[in-house]
Amino acid sequence: MITHNEDQGVPDEEGTGVHGFYFKINGFAIYARGANVVPTSQLEGRLTDEGHRILIDSAVAANMNMLRGEFKLL
């Protein structure tokens, strides 16, 4: 279960006053380390399956735990 959490601090004129935005997974707050993935080519299908695999494996090797796809990962 991934949820976005917003701590309910006491609101003031500048906001809630707490650093309250983070992800919870299965109820536990996590430190998200990730990347934004934009299309690897404007012409779909040019990146091979192996290329996709290397991309994801590289993210895993860099200890990332989140990828944000700016497009459907094709």
Partner: protein
């Protein structure tokens, strides 16, 4: 363009000015306008000379057609591709185990976009959305049954086809790509810059009823925003099974005493649902044939499945759910359709992310090839 490059008709469009110099090949020479139209990249207009202006996509005059031939071998039910110009496409047979009458359907997993599909010269329909799967039933009258049993499939990318569907959001619009101006009022419809077949196309042998989609979810029964989830807590499995009924005999399936959906997974005993008594609804799809959606909610016993965690925190446990449709009165059993599900499938259930926090370290991957178009 990738297919044209593979065929040796054009050179690498990402290299130097090849993309522009060769545009007459893929756009068609006759009606290319050099400038004066609205669908240009504004950055290119400033930077490039007139001869390198990108032509308005509305003036593509060339229709590209992919053609191949295939045989439906009734003896061993193997579909053989005779010749295929498609790169990376596998013509496979994923037919049902058995049936009384041979029905076939052409399944198009992904075409971008604005293409008409014809079997033996008979139009089957248009593909107007990149992200939808299209299923075209093949009637016996469309298929050749002579000695050669040779059928032709053609997919024509006619620029006149009006498209209103969605497509990958990288068809220009940023500074690094030719701009298709897909949403501009000056363009009468969504003409995309790149197009082609990007996912498999295959023929399946199907019964009167086919399982065309399975949507499994595993839900936590408590409030995930205030409770820690632990293995062994209370969960429920929610499965939606999408049934395509050939010939529009949905009523017969709904009222049948013997029509059943089978669900099999390692974490629970087999489940048999009678369609007549199940929660169900109809949905009209792009193929104009309504889909019957049968829903099931099933409690999952404690400790039967494990939680899914992101990399570095725990295991990414996924489970396979297998679904089939059977009708004992007509001795029908479809193939088993498999789908993976996690106890927390991140992209399908309760994705409440609305704002990225400062804790997210972000990088950007940029395609190397795209840089060449600057």
């Amino acid at each position: 363009m990738t297919d044209l490059q593979d065929a040796g008709i054009i050179m690498d469009p990402y290299y130097n000015n090849n993309f522009l110099d060769q545009r007459h090949v893929w756009m068609g020479e006759d009606r290319v306008k050099a400038n004066g139209t609205s669908c240009y990249s504004s950055q290119r207009r400033r930077r490039l000379k007139d001869e390198y202006m990108i032509p308005n996509l509305e003036v593509r005059s060339r229709t590209w057609i992919y053609e191949t031939h295939f045989r439906l071998d009734n003896q061993n039910q193997v579909l053989q591709s005779v010749s295929s110009k498609r790169r990376g496409a596998e013509w496979t047979n994923e037919g049902a185990h058995f049936q009384r009458q041979r029905n076939y359907a052409l399944v198009v997993e992904g075409i971008k976009m604005g293409a008409s599909v014809s079997i033996n010269g008979i139009p089957s329909g248009n593909v107007t959305d990149q992200f939808l799967r299209y299923i075209f039933p093949l009637s016996q009258s469309m298929l050749r049954s002579n000695l050669t049993n040779l059928n032709s499939l053609s997919i024509a990318f006619d620029p006149e086809i009006d498209t209103h569907g969605r497509f990958m959001a990288c068809s220009g619009g940023w500074d690094w790509a030719p701009y298709s101006m897909a949403a501009e009022k000056s363009c009468s419809s969504r003409r995309v810059l790149s197009f082609g077949i990007f996912k498999p196309i295959y023929v399946v042998e199907m019964n009167d009823v086919a399982v065309v989609n399975v949507v499994p979810k595993i839900r936590y029964k408590g409030d995930p925003t205030i409770e820690y989830l632990k293995d062994g807590k209370d969960f429920e499995l929610v499965v939606e099974v999408h049934l395509l009924c050939q010939g529009g005999n949905i009523d017969a399936v709904e009222n049948s005493e013997t029509a059943e959906v089978l669900i099999r997974a390692s974490f629970m005993p087999d489940v048999v649902i009678r369609v007549k008594h199940a929660h169900r609804r109809r949905e009209v799809t792009n193929s104009s044939t309504p889909i019957l959606i049968v829903s099931l909610t099933k409690q999952i016993s404690q400790d039967a499945i494990s939680l899914w965690w992101p990399h570095g925190i725990g295991n990414q446990t996924l489970y396979t759910i297998r679904v089939a449709y059977q009708d004992k009165s007509s001795a029908t059993l479809t193939s088993w359709v498999r789908q993976k599900v996690g106890k927390q499938l991140p992209c399908q259930i309760m994705f409440f992310i609305r704002f990225l926090s400062g804790f997210v370290l972000k990088n950007s991957f940029c395609g190397q090839g795209s840089d060449q178009l600057h």
